[in-house]
């Protein structure tokens, strides 16, 4: 039995809350990046900090996700994290668009 028939016969309903959690688990893990000898999450606060910092100085010391202070090139790390952020969020958005209409 294919899954379409299975879902129809079972009268199953799509669980949007569980789908959101699945997407969050999947895509947040993809935002984690090992770069310049640290482990980073391409989140809003890190991106904001790096964007502002690179205008002031080339190198900054930043706490990575394991709370290790790491000296990084702010612009290089910003570019890398921004690229990861855009790629991952686009995928996340696309998959959510596919799922959100399901019933």
């Amino acid at each position: 039995m294919d899954t379409v028939t299975l879902l129809s016969e079972a009268k199953a309903r799509f669980n949007h809350n569980s789908a959101k959690v699945y997407l969050k688990e999947k895509y947040e893990s993809k935002l984690i990046v090992a770069e310049q000898e640290g482990l980073w999450k391409a989140d809003h606060s890190t991106l904001n900090f790096l964007y502002n910092a690179h205008h002031v100085q080339e190198e900054v010391v930043l706490m990575d996700t394991f709370n290790n202070p790491v000296k990084v090139n702010a612009l290089e790390l910003y570019k890398k994290l921004m690229q990861v952020y855009n790629d991952v969020m686009k995928e996340w958005h696309d998959e959510w668009q596919e799922l959100k209409g399901k019933r």
């Binding site: 199953a12 809350n17 699945y22």
Partner: protein
């Protein structure tokens, strides 16, 4: 640096772990492009098999462990350090369904040993983290472990052996039931002991381990050998009535707790 994956597979009277290991190994080869070594026993190796592991290491299994469904041969995981032919090893449970190249990220982490400390369950958004007991620690998970051949990693596996050999004692101290040996519990204790009875976040994989619990049923969305799309069905009890809920997932690795369901998926 030579990298690879290590699987333990000892058949029980109820489940064919070797068959699970073969299916998992094929997916590891396909998605991670890594060789796979299996640690097994003579009785578990089938007469006719088409899959060739990178290495087959035969050991004498310790059958002195039981679960609700019968004999469960899961002891001896500490031998991973000694038997792994790789400088960097991912030690994986055979019922872990690889659907992406995510695990290759583990090799980028700046640590010689890491495992999962946090989990998440499909269809249970608010599931609490498991603890050894209400008086003890949150459980670490032996489902996915990455280690290098360092002195510290060796100490962790030696400590794992020590905890296994004294499991009743640690159960008494930490207030859990010792009846069934669990590698997750032994790893939780061993890692803390080696780290001076402290918790060290650098040893934790920086994303959650996804479980498909025993109360969900997973279906492959197509018959491709390397299918990565699944439908997860769940009986959602509300006000005394069952409502069938489902989600659809793709390209995500997860641990299948229901062995019967895992065998269905790899057929």
């Amino acid at each position: 640096m030579k990298r690879g994956v290590l699987l333990f597979a000892h058949n029980s009277p109820k489940y064919n772990y070797y068959k699970m290991a073969e299916a998992t190994a094929k997916r590891i080869n396909h998605f991670l492009d890594l060789p796979v070594t299996i640690i097994t026993d003579t009785d578990s190796i089938p007469e006719n098999t088409t899959y060739t592991f990178d290495n087959v290491i035969k050991v004498v299994p310790d059958k002195n462990n039981r679960r609700d469904w019968g004999v469960w041969i899961n002891k001896g995981r500490y031998q991973a350090f000694e038997f792994s032919p790789y400088e960097e090893t991912i030690l994986l449970d055979t019922d872990y369904l690889v659907n992406s190249n995510k695990l290759n990220t583990l090799f980028k982490l700046d640590t010689d040993f890491c495992c999962h400390a946090k989990t998440s369950f499909f269809m249970h958004p608010d599931a609490a983290q498991e603890v050894l007991s209400v008086y003890s620690f949150e459980t670490l998970w032996a489902t996915v472990v990455k280690f290098q051949k360092t002195k510290r990693a060796q100490q962790i596996f030696e400590c794992l052996k020590m905890v296994q050999n004294n499991f009743d004692h640690y159960a008494n101290i930490h207030g859990f039931i010792a009846g069934t040996f669990r590698n997750d519990y032994a790893l939780t204790l061993a890692l803390r002991i080696v780290n001076g009875h402290t918790s060290t976040p650098v040893d934790f994989i920086p994303w959650n381990l996804m479980h498909a619990g025993k109360d969900v049923r997973i279906f492959s969305n197509n018959k491709n050998e390397y299918n990565t799309e699944y439908t997860i069905l769940f009986d959602n009890w509300q006000k005394g009535k069952i409502r069938k809920d489902y989600i659809q997932i793709r390209d995500m690795d997860f641990h299948v707790m229901n062995k019967d369901n895992f065998l269905e998926l790899i057929e």
